[in-house]
């Protein structure tokens, strides 16, 4: 395996989808190749930082007020969504 052959396998390598024989070939190449080892570490970290992003960060105050008003309007102003 060379560096060009490894790159397209990264997604399946990090998600554990590669068959064992191919996975072992990748492992062997990465162990002996500083370029691909650095690429693999950075690829994995890219996936990890994306997963660590907040998925429900607070709404901006102006948007929260706008949404509450829209909800109250839709509900006929009979029920305060608070």
């Amino acid at each position: 395996m060379n560096c060009d052959e490894l790159e397209p396998l990264l997604l399946e390598f990090v998600s554990g989808e590669l068959v064992i024989a191919v996975r072992e070939t990748v492992d062997v190449h990465v162990t002996g190749c500083a370029h691909c080892e650095a690429l693999l570490i950075s690829y994995r970290h890219t996936v990890r930082v994306a997963a660590a992003l907040p998925k429900c960060a607070a709404l901006p105050a102006a948007l929260e007020a706008r949404l509450r008003k829209a909800l109250a309007d839709q509900m006929g102003e009979g029920e305060d969504c608070r």
Binding site: H35, A38, S42, T46, A51, A52, L53
Partner: protein, 188 residues
């Protein structure tokens, strides 16, 4: 013994628990606060209108993903049609390569799950905003939202191999964009 029926959701519960999720997803897909706010309002009003049809939070969460993604794609399409009309052509940006050019430097990062500071959130969100739409959608749904490839394929009307191909290219582009911020200092 019969399991009790899940409690009926109230508009306030939906607002508190789901509006921020809807907004964060829409904002990352659209890269624009005003558009994300419009999508959030549309989706929230839709869900409250249909609240009686949901039994339980899991069903609602799945539905919200679908409706938010559809609303974001529809809004983007509307904008693209307007731009196309004004500019006379459409722009389909395709990443023509995945492999990095030149030397890949080692990143100075911890081996386990990262804890990100607020400024790093901004940095990563800015990089996501630089991805072409077709790659950004897949990256946000897969790597930020944690959806599996089959779910993403259904949402975006793509085959699983197409999802994987776009996701790989998106990750490689993200890697390139983030590299200057994470690369280890050269030894003196």
């Amino acid at each position: 013994m019969v399991a009790p029926l899940p409690e009926k959701l109230t508009p306030e519960q939906v607002f508190r628990e789901h509006a921020p999720r809807i907004y964060n997803l829409a904002r990352r897909m659209l890269g624009n606060d005003a558009d994300a706010e419009d999508v959030t309002q549309d989706v929230l009003l839709q869900v409250v209108r249909k609240l009686d049809t949901f039994r339980g939070d899991a069903q609602l969460t799945t539905w919200l993903h679908r409706v938010t993604v559809n609303a974001a794609l529809a809004l983007r399409q509307k904008r693209a049609n307007r731009q196309k009309h004004e500019a006379g052509e459409a722009v389909d940006e395709v990443l023509d390569r995945a492999a990095p050019t030149g030397t890949v430097k080692r990143w100075d990062v911890p081996p386990d799950e990262p804890v990100l500071a607020a400024e790093q959130h901004e940095l990563i969100d800015r990089a996501i905003g630089e991805l072409p739409d077709m790659y950004r959608d897949v990256f946000v749904l897969a790597d930020v939202q944690g959806l599996d490839n089959a779910e993403i394929g259904e949402l975006l009307n793509l085959s699983v191999p197409a999802v994987k191909s776009r996701l790989h290219r998106a990750r490689m582009r993200m890697r390139d964009l983030l590299a200057p911020h994470f690369e280890a200092e050269d030894a003196p």
